[in-house]
C-alpha cells in the first residue's frame, strides 16, 4: 500500500470519529435537557414548603402530627373535666328572678322561663319624718331565699305608713297596726320585712309604686305561690 492510500484511510477514520463524537455530544445535550425538565416539578413543589416554614421531610411532619394529636387529646380531657365540674353546680330547681327596672318577675328553671308576670317594685322615693327618721322606698337588690310562705297574710303597718298619712305613730304592739286583706291571698317572705305579695292597686303593676316589696296581680301570685317552696332562691336585680 502506498503512502497516499494509507493517509486517505486515516482521514476517513478521523472523519468517522468526529461524526460519532458530535452525535455523543448531541445526545448528552438532550439528556441534560430531559433531566432539567424531569426535575423541574420537584423543584417547584419543594419551594412553597420552604416558604411556609413547614417541616419538609415526611418524618418531621409525622412527628409534628403526633405531637398535635397528643395536645388535642389532652385539651379534650381537660374540657371534659371542666364540663363535669360545671354540671355539678347545675340543678333543676325552680327560682325567681325580679327585674326591678323592667318591673317583671320570672319563674325560671335553668334556661327555661316557666312563667312571666308584670310586677310592681319600690318607688325609689325618699320620705322624711319630723322626728328625723327617713325612708327610701327601694326594692333591695341581690340574692335572697324564700324564708316562709303565708296564706291570707296580715300586714303589720310600719311607721312610715302612718307618717305618710300624717297620722300619729302608734306603739309597736298596737293592734291597730294589724291590717288584713291588703296583701292579697298569699305572701312569700324574703326577710327584713320584704315580701312578694298581692295588691289592690293592680292598675299600677308594671311601675315603681311600692314601698320596697314586690307586688303581683292575683292570678300571677297564685301561680308563683303554688310553684315555689320555702328555700327557693330569689334573684333581684
Amino acid at each position: 500500500m502506498n503512502s497516499r492510500t494509507r493517509s486517505g484511510t486515516a482521514l476517513s477514520a478521523l472523519r468517522r470519529d468526529l461524526l460519532i463524537s458530535r452525535k455523543v455530544m448531541h445526545a448528552t445535550k438532550v439528556m441534560h435537557s430531559a433531566l432539567f425538565v424531569l426535575f423541574l416539578p420537584v423543584l417547584l413543589f419543594a419551594a412553597p414548603a420552604e416558604q411556609n416554614d413547614i417541616p419538609v421531610s415526611a418524618e418531621a411532619l409525622r412527628g409534628d402530627v403526633e405531637a398535635l394529636q397528643r395536645e388535642a387529646a389532652l385539651l379534650e380531657e381537660e374540657n371534659q373535666g371542666l364540663r363535669k365540674s360545671l354540671a355539678t353546680q347545675e340543678d333543676a330547681e325552680l327560682y325567681i328572678v325580679v327585674d326591678t327596672e323592667g318591673n317583671e318577675l320570672q319563674l325560671r328553671r335553668g334556661n327555661a322561663v316557666v312563667h312571666t308576670a308584670v310586677c310592681g317594685t319600690g318607688s325609689r322615693q325618699f320620705m322624711a319624718a319630723e322626728s328625723g327618721t327617713n325612708w327610701f322606698f327601694d326594692t333591695p337588690i341581690g340574692s335572697f331565699t324564700v324564708l316562709g310562705r303565708e296564706r291570707n297574710p296580715v300586714w303589720i303597718r310600719p311607721d312610715w305608713s302612718y307618717v305618710e298619712e300624717n297620722m300619729p305613730v302608734p306603739a309597736p304592739e298596737d293592734p291597730d297596726r294589724l291590717v288584713r286583706g291588703v296583701l292579697g291571698k298569699y305572701a312569700l317572705l324574703l326577710g327584713n320585712g320584704y315580701k312578694i305579695h298581692g295588691t289592690k292597686w293592680t292598675n299600677l303593676l308594671g311601675t315603681h309604686f311600692t314601698h320596697g316589696c314586690i307586688s303581683l296581680g292575683d292570678d300571677d301570685l297564685e301561680i308563683v305561690y303554688r310553684s315555689v317552696k320555702t328555700g327557693t332562691k330569689v334573684y333581684i336585680y
Binding site: V65, L75, L82, E101
Partner: protein, 180 residues
Amino acid sequence: MRKPTLRHTIAYAICAGSLLLAAVTWCNAGGDEREALLVQQRMLRERIETLKYEQDYLLFEKMLYRLHSKYLVIDTKSRTGQLKYQNRVLKDFKFTASGNFSALTPRAGIAILTSKVEGKPDRHALVFGKSFVMKWKLSTVPRREASLPAISLTRKELLSVFYAVETGSMAFILRSGTQN
C-alpha cells in the same frame, strides 16, 4: 477500546430516562403522604384552636360561678344574649347588630365593661373597651366609641341590663358553634 456508537448512546439515554421516571414516581408517592400529613396537621391545629377557645369559655363560667358578679354571655351567631349570675340565667335578650358588626367582630372571648354612659333621658349605653358597645336606638354613644361594633336592644331591655351590671362586669362573646 470500542468507540460508542449512536445505538449505544440511545440505549444509555433510555436506561437513564427510565431510572429518572422511577425516581419521579417515588417522589410523587412521598409527596402524596406529605400532602395527607399537611392536611392532618392543619385540621389538628384548627381543632386545638377550637378546644382552647372552648376551654376559655368553660374556665370563664367556672370562675364566674364563684363570684358575686353578674355577667353577660353574647352569642353573635344567633344574636341573643343572657344576663347571668353564678349558675343562674337572669335574663334572655335578643339584639340587632350595627353595620360594622359581623360574626367575626367583636372578637370572641372575654370583654370588660369599661364605662356606663348615662345619656338623658335614659339614653344610656354600655361600652366594653374596644370590643363593642351595647345600646338602644336612641342611646348617646361617645364619638370615640361610635365606630365600634354595636349591638342594639330594646329600650326596656337595655335599661334592665344597664342597671344590673357595673363597670368591671364581664361579658363573654361566644364564637359560632361553641357548646354552651
